[in-house]
Amino acid sequence: MEFSGLSGEIILGTLGQILPLIIGIIIGIIALEVGMYLFLARVVKTKHALPFTLLAPAIIAITLFMVYPLIFNVLLAFSDLKRSTFPCYSPVALGACELDHLYGLDYAIKNFTDVFFRVRDGEILGWGRLLRTADSTFPVLLGRTIMWTVANVIFHFTIGMGLALIMNMKIRFKGIYRALIVIPWAIPGVIVGLTWKQEFHAQYGFVNVLIQALGGQAISWLDDPAAAFVAVVFVNIWLGVPFYMVMLLGGIQSIPGDYYEASEIDGANAWQRFNRITMPLLRPIIIPAITLDVIWTFNRLDIIFLITGGGPQESTNILVSALYNAAFGPAATQQLGFAAAFSIIIFLILFAFALVWITTSGGLKEIYDR
């Protein structure tokens, strides 16, 4: 008897399960759209029946996939949901529920406090451990997260800008270079992480082979805390540069050449042209790009997870990896109520940053001025 992974029969079987669902969704959406249009046009008699109808799918999707999870996350922060209380919250779990209520302010206070402090019997004993080691406290992890974010964003921007300026020059084989630079962006994060993990192997990895060939000494990239942090930052820089290059190159190419010609006639040198023309005109691109990059990098878990797993000695963990650990980590405690509160704190930090950064940098000034 032979067994195969993906035979025609299996594909047909799977299609047989999926197709009715897809067809059902399509038919359902069409019926809803038609129904909504008829209701708005004939019952409500609004002249905006068509725009409302066309907007409805997007509104429903945003509500289902963004608003509802957000509200559910806040609700979770007001719960005591963890593995041992599953029987209280799961519709199928067996066993007695020992909680007298499922949601409450008392749980929320405990969840939010536990992110920062170790509390026993109402007394604060000090900073709480978010992981297992003594220095896995909130201030330490926040500091490391800021270092990780700042280092990444600075290098993303400077290298991305440099490459964009080079790609804007008249050089041969520009298309090939541009394709090569964009490759990291096109590779799935999982493959990037696992590949670079092997390349940072102390004995067999390409990085140390190169260092030794250049006369340097091999580094224990994954065993030494500082080296491991450098390794994950390096990989994330490598991954993030193409985003900036593409964004900035698009911006640079949209600047009219007349400005540069006029400034050259006035005797401006290359630095002055860059500083007085390129940078100010790229501002509407740079500010949103940096804002997005800060948020993405602050929350970027996969590269750290795949290359170091947060190690060695939990030294490459940042806030989101500690958050993931609380919810789905190897201790399997599934502290989902605590993790929800933790995620709200991370959200508030990023929200405050975005608010201050966008306001002070004037990134949206042009939009408001219109």
Partner: protein, 407 residues
């Protein structure tokens, strides 16, 4: 209606009709989430086909392979959602305590005659209730070596160090010995060998004792004094080096045997594979690996005809002597029932694995064990990067475990 519209509607009708006709089934379709590797899952599928032909013709088994952590998280997530759990779960026993704590497993004592499993059923029992039956005994680590590179298994660690050094001197580009250095599952056998345990007699967790310190010191010395292990090595590293013939000896578990015997997947191994018990430590004791085996559990959502079929198949797979033997030989793992024994002449690898199993320590499915794994890991990493002393690692692990147990 135009011709194209007619064709479109006809096509849609046929697709819907086809879809429903494919999904309609008279016999049972079981789903199992398996933490086992592909090679072992094929054996499971073959055994199911034998059972289905005899008991329930037309039944199917959908095997979904999941890595250890993914399996555990997916079971808990589906359990919390209340839907999406499989009919069966196959995995190591230490996750059973987690699932049971979350209330997601059926007690099996009323469904299966548990007296048929004399060996390691305790590893799946909590509060006297059985939550899983063993598909095999073992899941234990042992010494594995490539006979074409090392003639015979070292009896002591002194022998192993000497053999690894001699091998590397003769083959400067190859490695004599490697294992998953920073993984606590590979470290605990040393702790047990030095007389340590995870739990004291009163049930408290003890990770800071002379035995633990000696074990940390021993593995640190293997790396920094004896220099016989790679500077960095995780599971993938040791496994890949061994498969390609770049390392002579490794420490690995019985789950890998089937793949190592397959020359397509392990070109340097096949008939060159040999296994042996752990070498004896300087104190005269052997390191004692954790043992338990893989267990099949039934989630609370499995019911009616699905439950009947699941119970029937699991009982047959784990107790019918012919099925147990076929599964054991196919997976290269030890049977979990007394009726099937391992003959060294028939299968020397299984016989040697059985010998290695004899020195093992049963692993509890108590979920608090996860606090031990979680607390030891960063401190073992500190020891293996030479940034922590053995004594400090033991002390820090104890503090971390106590905080973990507090919740």
């Amino acid at each position: 209606m135009s011709r194209s519209k007619t064709l479109l509607f006809a096509l849609l009708f046929l697709l819907v009709l086809g879809a429903f006709s494919v999904s309609a089934q008279d016999s049972v379709n079981l789903v199992i989430w398996s933490q086992d590797g592909d090679a072992n899952n094929v054996v499971l599928a073959e055994q199911f086909a034998v059972w289905a032909e005899a008991v329930s013709p037309g039944s199917t088994l959908e095997i979904v392979q999941k890595e250890t952590e993914v399996l555990r998280n997916d079971v808990l997530t589906a359990g919390l959602a209340g839907s999406g759990l499989p009919d069966l779960i196959l995995g190591p026993n230490d996750a059973i305590g987690v699932y049971e704590d979350a209330g997601l497993l059926l007690g099996l004592d009323d469904l299966i005659d548990t007296s048929m499993y004399p060996y390691n059923l305790g590893a799946a029992q909590i509060g006297g209730v059985t939550y899983g039956v063993p598909t095999n005994a073992g899941n234990h680590l042992m010494l594995m070596y490539n006979k074409s590179l090392v003639a015979e298994a070292p009896q002591t660690w002194e022998d192993l160090i000497a053999a690894a050094r001699a091998f590397e001197e003769a083959n400067p580009d190859l490695q004599g010995f490697a294992y998953n250095l920073n993984e606590p599952f590979w470290f605990l056998p040393f702790v047990h060998g030095f007389g340590g345990t995870t739990y004291a007699e009163d049930g408290s967790m003890v990770l800071d004792s002379e035995s633990w310190v000696n074990a940390y010191q021993f593995v640190q010395d293997l790396k920094f004094v004896e220099e016989i292990v790679p500077e960095e090595c995780d599971y993938a590293c040791a496994d890949a080096l061994f498969k390609e013939g770049s390392v002579a000896m490794i420490l690995n578990g019985d789950w890998a045997i089937a793949e190592y015997l397959d020359v397509e997947k392990s070109p340097a191994l096949g008939e060159n594979l040999a296994v042996a018990p752990w070498p004896v430590l300087p104190n005269g004791e052997r390191p004692k690996p954790f043992t338990a085996g893989k267990f099949i559990s039934i989630p609370v959502t499995t019911a009616d005809a699905q439950l009947d079929a699941a119970v029937s198949f699991v009982t047959w797979l784990t107790t019918d002597p012919a099925a147990v033997e076929a599964y054991a030989v196919g997976t290269g793992r030890l049977p979990a029932i007394a009726a099937v024994t391992v003959d060294a002449d028939v299968d020397p690898i299984l016989a040697a694995s059985n010998e290695a199993l004899a020195s093992g320590v049963g692993m509890t499915s108590d979920p608090t064990l996860r606090c031990m794994w979680d607390s030891v890991r960063p401190n073992l990493e500190g020891v293996m990067s030479n940034s922590m002393t053995a004594a400090d690692a033991a002390m820090e692990a104890q503090i971390a475990a106590e905080e973990c147990l507090e919740g």
